[in-house]
């Protein structure tokens, strides 16, 4: 076992803000009266609706699909009636065609909830089940899992990394899952490893979650058979430790080539929540229609890790958790470093939503951009070893081609540079501009 905490060059140390939600067990959210389910919750083609207004649906019933390879099925999350199919606010991308379902409160499952034997499944059968269950990467990227697991000619994968780093401040949903369902997560991990045909695996967890390390280690010891070689790796707590390129660098000391993907270095990374979704899909035939999210921030009264139905709107969650005396000044989907701020409480939780942070006006960052003093902090913290201020200067002059030449496309917008900048320059804004320029 590797015990010393390992880390990558660069990165920042934002305050954790994990308490108190990380100490509170996961609980089921109240059933919403209405859910808004966007037909695009993933990277890839948007789904076509398979239901019409007036149709009765149940949790787990397929309501949207696409024939395109890179796409992911969408399922109903409550039982009730489809009342509208129309453009609704989406947490990541403006408006999106969405199925609106009015709940009848019965919550009768639309699939057989029965543990089935998964031992005899062939790799392709596992991938098919994952595809039909609409599993996507739950860490936030929402990349369809079945696409990721489908082998690509000439790319031999030999290592699987289960990502339990959870390096974003505030969020603790993955932490709670590792504490409460470690065996199921390991089973999901073994399914993924079987699907891609690898026996070497790592479970990566930051060292600020020692209890999760212990829980996963115990689960691993009780589940593991001799065909697999799986190690728990404790990573130093640092942002963005959970980024897959950094995790691979730390564990395997391999650099994913610029513009490439983990399979270019024979590796595949999945989040712990994704592994759990795979477990539930394969063992229980349960499609991905609910997930655990962290509800936190100083503007919310009851911080929690909630098991919520996909399509539950922010307003419903606020009704349950309550506002503290503070009015929220900012609502963030995801973590504070890479999450998306929302302009309305009508946006729904989607598959990739790992948490909702409600910040009071006082906690909202209102710093004003000032001139760059060339301190070089951004170069030191950039995990991709770019030169953010040099890029910024080119982008301000609209010299986008030169910005691309010095690597702006390698920026995955982790936000470390903008976090650390003493002049409070919104460097990520400039990088986004440069990438689209």
């Amino acid at each position: 076992m590797i015990s010393a905490a390992m880390t990558f060059p660069g990165g920042v140390h934002p305050p954790h803000f994990k308490k108190p939600a990380n100490k509170i067990p996961i609980k089921k959210a109240a059933l919403p009266k209405q859910v808004v389910i966007p037909l695009s919750q993933h990277i890839g083609a948007i789904c076509e609706p398979l239901v019409s207004v007036g149709d009765k649906v149940k949790p787990g019933i397929l309501i949207g699909k696409s024939d395109k390879f890179v796409s992911s099925f969408v399922h109903a999350s409550v039982s009730g009636e489809v009342i509208k199919i129309e453009q609704r606010p989406h947490p990541l991308s403006g408006l999106c065609n969405s199925v609106v379902i009015e709940s009848d409160g019965t919550d009768e499952a639309g699939f057989t909830q029965q543990e089935s034997n998964a031992d005899s499944l062939k790799p392709q059968e596992i991938i098919d089940i994952i595809r039909r269950s609409g599993v996507v990467g739950l860490g936030g990227a929402c990349f369809p899992t079945h696409v990721k697991l489908t082998s690509i000619p000439n790319k031999k994968i030999d290592t699987f990394v289960l990502n339990g780093a959870e390096c974003e401040p505030y969020l603790s949903c993955d932490h709670r899952l590792m504490l409460e369902r470690p065996k199921d997560i390991i089973k999901g991990m073994l399914l993924i490893m079987k699907a891609i045909g690898v026996t070497k695996g790592f479970v990566a967890i930051e060292d600020n979650k020692p209890d999760a390390v212990e829980a996963m280690r115990a689960a691993l010891n009780s589940t593991l058979n001799t065909q697999h070689s799986i190690q728990i790796v404790t990573l130093k707590t640092k942002y963005p430790q959970g980024a897959e390129k950094q995790i691979i660098k730390v564990i395997l000391n391999k650099e994913v080539p610029a513009g490439g993907l983990p399979f270019d270095v024979g590796c595949l990374v999945d989040n712990v929540a994704t592994a759990l979704a795979v477990y539930e899909a394969v063992y229980y035939k349960k499609p991905l229609y609910e997930r655990v999210i962290t509800v936190c921030g100083d503007a919310v009264k009851e911080q929690a890790n909630l098991l919520v139905r996909i399509g539950t709107r922010v307003s419903d969650i606020l009704q349950q958790c309550g506002l503290s005396s503070q009015q929220p000044g900012k609502i963030i989907f995801g973590g504070p470093m890479m999450g998306f701020s929302q302009y309305t409480t009508d946006v729904p939780v989607i598959k990739g939503t790992s948490g909702i942070i409600f910040l009071s006006q006082a906690k909202v960052d209102k710093s004003v951009e000032s001139v760059c003093i060339r301190c070089g902090n951004c170069l030191d913290v950039c995990p991709m070893k770019l030169a953010p201020t040099t890029l910024m200067n080119l982008i301000k002059l609209r010299r986008y081609a030169e910005a691309k030449e010095i690597g702006v496309d390698n920026c995955y917008e982790c936000g470390s540079c903008a976090y650390e900048c003493p002049a409070k320059i919104p460097l990520v804004d400039y990088m986004k501009l440069g990438k689209n320029g």
Binding site: S341, I373, A387
Partner: protein, 320 residues
Amino acid sequence: MDNVINVSIAPHIKSKNSTKKIMWAVVLALIPSGAAGVFIFGVKALLIIIVSILSALAAEWVIISARKQQISIFDGSAFLTGLLLAYNLPPQVPLWLPAAGAFFAVIIGKQVFGGLGHNIFNPALSGRAFLMVSWPVYMTTWQLPRWNIVDTVTTATPLALFKHKSFGMLNNVTYWDLFIGNKGGCIGEVSVAALLIGAAYLLWKKYISWHIPLTYIVTIALTSWAFNGKSAFFTGDALFFILSGGLILGAFFMATDYVTSPLSSRGKIVFGVSCGLLTFVIRKFSGYPEGVSYSILIMNAAVPLIDKYTFPKWFGKRTA
């Protein structure tokens, strides 16, 4: 409720670090050596420091008002320029001299280039260079520490003694004298001990990195040891050359100026080594006994070039 919601691109949290905080931290780190200078040379040194700072703030105010900018003169930048300029002056200069130097430093050294963040040369050092060529006698008249004043007031700096081969007088100067500041020199450079306290604070708080100071000092040590001995090669007194003159002040507080030093760690190493080589060349071969300030100024001009060739290698960059 919806009308008070803030929307912005991530990250939604920022570190507590700020330009102002860094500037005032450097000022704080410079207080021990200023206090040592005043203690060693007397109240006149304090007056020089005050005049220099007030003049720098006044010059900043004049330009900011003329440009109608919404910037506070108390962002620490001008204050720091004034303070550093005073630290680079001998302790007996007339009080109009720091005023003239501070105006030059802030207006010509910094503001004509566009103000904070845009200047090519270290403002305090450009002010010093201006004074050096304009009033060289004032700038090279040194005072003995207060307790050593018996018959004469003036002295030569240890480096000047070395330059003029007055080795006999140097024999009375111990490393300890050089270290604590029992010697002639500029107000803020004289006590190495006090400077190191401030430097340690800046390193501990990570406001500066080791790259420039360490490479600068090591380069001086190696070149001095190899080529600056009294007789043969490799007989030079490295420690003497480190502790004398303005090296410690320059290496930790002037060469590390963010605006006028390279961005990347590799660039900083190139910068530090180059400053060291130039300082050695000036000390050894030029008419000046000391070369720290000119070395840094010359290397300031080379920073864009250094930056261009020392960008960090991207993560995962293909070697084509």
